[in-house]
């Protein structure tokens, strides 16, 4: 029996396109909640640990929660739940908007988790066989390859800050924001420098991203791949139909 993680990367990409497209179009917390649940169930079916993924991106999630709370404050609507004088701090509508943002981000994280069950070479080949220009497929695959690097560099940066005796949690808000901004600096600069090194290294080994090239790896869609793809697209159409019918 074929395990879900062995599905063709194009099948996984189809599932991800369905999940993320629906997450972007739908603006209802209940639908998004359901979609988020489905994403994490799929993640488990694909053999990745949902809890493990959450743990790996917990710092990112912390920031997402902060952004969601800020969104709820700066986009007030509906019943006021907390106010400071005439300033509405927390409203029911704002909270729902924040929750929708959080759920969308969770769906995207789960989708990235599903994609991570294929290696970046297979994903690139899948995109090439979908007739995407090689240069773009290569860029996309390099982007995917950099995700764990980003996570690792971010973790290192947090450790480096703490080792300087700085407890981010204890800092006043302004300094907290300053330190958080400084965490991104080594990650972004490091990624740029590393991309330069990788580009130099692969070019020195004779690699050029020409539009067409032969490949040793050739992917083949099986019957169950088609079945999963058709089910994913149909499921999404039915859900979107239901959503537009209700709202």
């Amino acid at each position: 029996m074929t395990s879900a993680s062995e599905l063709d990367p194009r099948t996984k990409l189809t599932i991800i396109i369905c999940l993320t497209s629906a997450a972007v179009i739908i603006s209802n917390w209940a639908f998004l909640g359901g979609l988020c649940l489905v994403s994490f169930i799929l993640l488990a079916i694909f053999g990745a640990s949902p809890w493990g993924i959450i743990k790996r991106v917990r710092l990112l999630l912390y920031m997402v929660v902060v952004i969601a709370l800020m969104q709820s404050i700066f986009a007030p609507s509906g019943q006021t739940l907390l106010a400071f004088g005439s300033v509405k701090l927390v409203t029911a509508g704002g909270l729902l908007k924040g929750a929708e943002f959080l759920l969308r981000m969770l769906i995207i994280i789960a989708s990235a988790g599903i994609l991570s069950t294929s290696n970046h070479r297979e994903i690139m080949q899948g995109l090439v066989q979908w007739k995407l220009p090689y240069e773009i497929a290569f860029m996309a695959s390099m982007g995917i390859r950099f995700l764990p690097v980003f996570a690792e560099e971010f973790r290192d940066a947090v450790i480096a800050v703490q080792l300087r005796g700085v407890d981010i949690k204890q800092l006043p808000l302004r300094q907290k924001l300053e330190v958080t901004a400084s965490l991104f600096q080594p990650v972004v600069a490091g990624a740029l420098l590393r991309s330069k090194d990788i580009a130099m290294s692969i070019e020195m080994r004779g690699f050029r991203a020409y539009p067409t090239r032969s490949s040793y790896l050739v992917l083949e869609l099986k019957g169950y791949d088609y079945a999963v793809m058709i089910s994913a697209v149909n499921g999404t159409i039915i859900m979107m139909g239901g959503y537009f019918f209700i709202y």
């Binding site: 560099e153 290192d156 940066a157 450790i159 480096a160 800050v161 703490q162 080792l163 300087r164 005796g165 700085v166 407890d167 981010i168 204890q170 800092l171 300094q175 330190v179 400084s182 965490l183 600096q185 080594p186 600069a189 490091g190 420098l193």
Partner: protein, 203 residues
């Protein structure tokens, strides 16, 4: 994996951890600074259980320099890098400026004061990280391969800095393959192999 280890490191003593690649030296160094938490057993840092200590509290007492200095660089300029910990610990501006100036001079990097740390050479990055570590006035230092990327003259300067730290009673754990550097600085040598300390030599 580090297994069945019983070890006590003393403040005021310089200990060197030596051994082949993959022996577990860096892992042990990270364990000793609380970056990695032990799966079992007990680790006490200055008498306090490391499990209950946040890394920022450990960082106030123990300085750690990563094997790869790039992992530790955060700021937009060398002077900000050295001042980073002091700024967020509420140290007075004048004191920070004096400390930064003296460390820039000590490590001969005054000309790099405004340079972007990630664009520096390996040896320069190493010196910036060491300066940033020392700026915090740690009671104990864990230095992972501190001489890699430093030329002979700079290693001599660094030896003088370490000697001065020793005089001030600061303990150190040096993780190094540089035998000459170890001989010059360490009073105790712990050879490691396969995750175990196989000897405890005092010079």
């Amino acid at each position: 994996m580090i297994d069945q280890l019983s070890l006590c490191l003393y403040k005021g003593e310089t200990t060197a951890l030596i051994g082949p690649n993959g022996a577990g030296k860096t892992t042990l160094g990270k364990l000793l600074t609380g970056i990695i938490k032990p799966a079992a057993g007990q680790l006490l840092i200055f008498g306090e259980d490391a499990r209950s200590l946040p890394l920022s509290r450990i960082g106030q007492k123990v300085g750690y320099c990563f094997q790869n200095p790039r992992q530790q660089l955060l700021a937009a300029s060398v002077e900000e890098e050295i001042a980073f910990g002091l700024v967020y610990r509420g140290v007075r501006r004048e004191t920070i400026e004096t400390t930064v100036d003296s460390l820039l001079e000590l490590f001969e990097i005054e000309h790099l004061r405004r340079a972007f740390p990630l664009n520096l050479s390996w040896g320069e990055k190493r010196r910036v990280v060491l300066a940033a570590c020392l700026a915090l006035n740690p009671q104990y230092l864990v230095l992972d391969e501190p001489t890699v990327g430093l030329d002979a003259e700079r290693i001599r300067t660094f030896n003088r800095v370490l000697a001065r730290l020793r005089e001030n009673g600061i303990g150190m754990l040096l993780i190094s393959h540089d035998q000459e550097f170890v001989r010059e600085n360490a009073g105790r040598i712990l050879p490691m192999e396969g995750g175990s300390i196989i000897d405890d030599l005092r010079i």
